[in-house]
């Protein structure tokens, strides 16, 4: 990035800003040139498929009222989560996202069982049935959630990155959020602090074009979100969120900047195939728009690449599909059979202290 700007130290007669951004061409990447082996590519495919089948089944279970509350599906955005998880050191680096979190959880290595059980609100859900769809967490995998308030986790990401730098543990934080979060003050405060303190963080805008039902052009004066990087003195890049290699490549580059304490923005242009949540029929976009986007499906694209390059055969990929379907079916069975939390667990983890004194004053003595 090249910036020339008025820096507040004088009063220039004429101020100008020039800004250049890494964008990634839509022509095909070569996985070997990116340093990915054939088996890694197949693993990526399997993982994206797992996310897809998991959520299709979750939607079905929502219809059967096994799952309640909000359920925000990630279908269409799987290249982002899988590309990211492959570009970091899972467990040593940190990841935090908003409420559309199933895909990232599964990409980082959370089990379908714990994820499905959480949706069912059961005892062995990843958050013990306390969080639900929007609040997946895995301390072991460095997954800091799963957050329900739009934009509120962005300052938290700067703090996670701050701690990595403070502890000198060489960790970086990836902070995912949607285009809608760019309208929140927390986004701007967090970016300013990260830029000011030179924190090891990548701010990843998953631009799926819609904040709930509001298309970006109806909500933002500037819809090229990466341009916000100028105001926080950080570099920016734009990637194609329908291409897992492009995401992998872009995040790898931004992560290496972060490791040398250069925060950055990465805008990933992607598309959400389903409604905002299960209660959203998506009437704000046309069938033609949706159909045209489906040709871009990241899983279909990766499949074509694998077959075209002779990395795998149709039979092999079909077998993957059967494999992940059975993992997902087993997770439904696991979640169904898992007991609900005991009623007195409602008091667990409000505080560290188990017999927190205030609680005992709730009832007459």
């Amino acid at each position: 990035m090249d910036t020339t700007q008025a820096n507040g130290r004088g009063n220039p007669e004429r101020a100008s800003i020039s800004f250049s951004v890494d964008t990634f061409a839509r022509e095909e990447h070569d996985h070997q040139e990116l340093g990915l082996s054939d088996s890694q590519v197949l693993d990526m495919y399997r993982n994206m498929l797992l996310q897809r089948r998991f959520e299709e089944r979750a939607a079905q279970m929502y219809g059967k009222q096994k799952i309640s509350g909000f359920l925000h599906l990630y279908i269409g955005q799987e290249a982002v989560s899988t590309g990211a998880a492959n570009a970091i050191r899972v467990g040593r680096d940190s990841v935090i996202t908003a409420y559309r979190d199933h895909g990232l959880g599964l990409a980082l290595g959370m089990s379908a069982d714990e994820c499905m059980a959480e949706l069912f609100g059961k005892q062995h859900g990843c958050s013990r049935g306390k969080g639900g769809s929007m609040h997946y967490f895995s301390k072991e995998l460095g997954f800091y959630g799963g957050h329900g308030i739009v934009g509120a986790h962005i300052p938290v990401a700067t703090g996670i990155a701050f701690a990595h730098k403070y502890k000198e543990d060489d960790g970086v934080a990836l902070c995912f959020f949607g285009d809608g979060a760019v309208g929140q003050g927390s986004f701007h405060e967090a970016l300013n602090l990260a830029g000011l303190y030179k924190l090891p963080v990548v701010f990843i805008i998953e631009n799926n074009q819609y904040a709930m039902g509001t298309a970006i052009h109806r909500a933002f004066a500037e819809t090229d979100f990466f341009k916000h990087a100028v105001g926080y003195n950080m570099p920016a890049a734009v990637a194609d969120g329908m291409d897992v290699f492009d995401v992998y490549n872009a995040i790898t580059k931004q992560v290496s900047l972060a490791r040398s304490f250069q925060p950055s923005i990465l805008e990933i242009r992607t598309y959400r195939y389903r409604g905002h949540s299960m209660s959203d029929p998506g009437n704000y976009r046309t069938k033609e728009e949706l159909d045209s986007r489906k040709n871009d499906d990241p899983i279909i694209r990766l499949k074509a690449y694998i077959i075209g390059r002779g990395i795998g055969t149709n039979e092999m990929l079909d077998a993957f599909d059967e494999e992940v379907k059975s993992i997902v079916l087993r997770s439904v069975e696991f979640a169904d059979n898992d007991p609900f939390p005991e009623l007195d667990e409602i008091y667990d983890n409000v505080y560290t202290q188990k017999d927190y004194p205030f609680l005992s004053w709730q009832t007459p003595r």
């Binding site: 940190s94 935090i96 859900g125 990843c126 958050s127 013990r128 049935g129 306390k130 969080g131 609040h135 967490f137 895995s138 301390k139 800091y144 959630g145 799963g146 957050h147 329900g148 308030i149 509120a152 986790h153 962005i154 300052p155 938290v156 990401a157 700067t158 703090g159 996670i160 990155a161 701050f162 701690a163 990595h164 403070y166 502890k167 934080a173 003050g185 927390s186 405060e189 967090a190 300013n192 602090l193 000011l196 303190y197 667990d348 983890n349 409000v350 505080y351 560290t352 202290q353 927190y356 004194p357 205030f358 004053w361 007459p364 003595r365």
Partner: protein
Amino acid sequence: MANLQLREAIRAAMVEEMERDERIFLIGEEVAEYNGAYKVSEGMLDQFGAKRVIDTPISENGFAGLGVGAAMNGLRPIVEFMTFNFSFVAIDQIINNAAKIRYMSGGQFGVPIVFRGPNGAAGQLAATHNTSTESIYATIPGLKVVAPSNPDDAKGLLKSAIRDDDPVVFLESEVMYGMRGEVSDEADYIIPLGKARIARQGKDVTIVAHSKSYHLAMKAADALVEQGFDPEVIDPRTIRPLDMDSIVESIRKTNRCVIIDESNPFASISSEIAFQIQQHAFDHLDAPIIRITAKDTPAPYAKNLMEFYMPQVSDAVEACRQVMYAN
């Protein structure tokens, strides 16, 4: 014992804890190079350096959230608000993130953080700079709320708050920062959270009052003693958890209660204490509980209106006489 101002006692607690634990850092507006807007952190930048005493832009939501993330990732932040009036800009981070992440993550991520700074009325500052926030934060499960009334308590309680593994809202007072008091110089002076202090033993009426209101209670108690009464004064010190055992025990002895709380009255700390007393000591009450609070209005600017807005010693004396049927 050392004779310290409140600000010095708070600083001593932070300095001792930071010397003990490398993971603790102080962050906020003007805490470092300016030495603190109220000089609470004076000298701390020199002692600990810029890595651990960190100035921020005016960005409460940003740096409060930064503190939450740092706490989730193994550090123990002390976040200073220049006043708790400004904490409202960051309230999403305090209420939705700090207080709830342990619960929502099924216990996986704790948030050991202290949010501290002055709270409550501080003179003719008008409505936006005079809010008492304790009832707002104390209603949130997952937070602890501490409001000391003197330098000794402030030091012992702040050290506990910093060592606590859960988020603590630690409420100080602009007008009390210069107040002096004897402070224990015991090497590791800790006052546990959730324990009230019986400031004055008595048998005729129980006065419950925290923070600045405690001093008003003691003046009222002195006046009552002159009038031949024997009041008991309890300083809860911690608002959540609230030491109801001590309060109920006192009511069982005196059978009468006045609560002084400079918050606005509706759904305030005084409401909660009065409710708890009727639930747990109903049969011991010989008179309805009276509370003395700020008026149910925003804080005004005009001198006479502000005096009228705030609880006064005479109000407290009169209330005590009333519950004792002494009029």
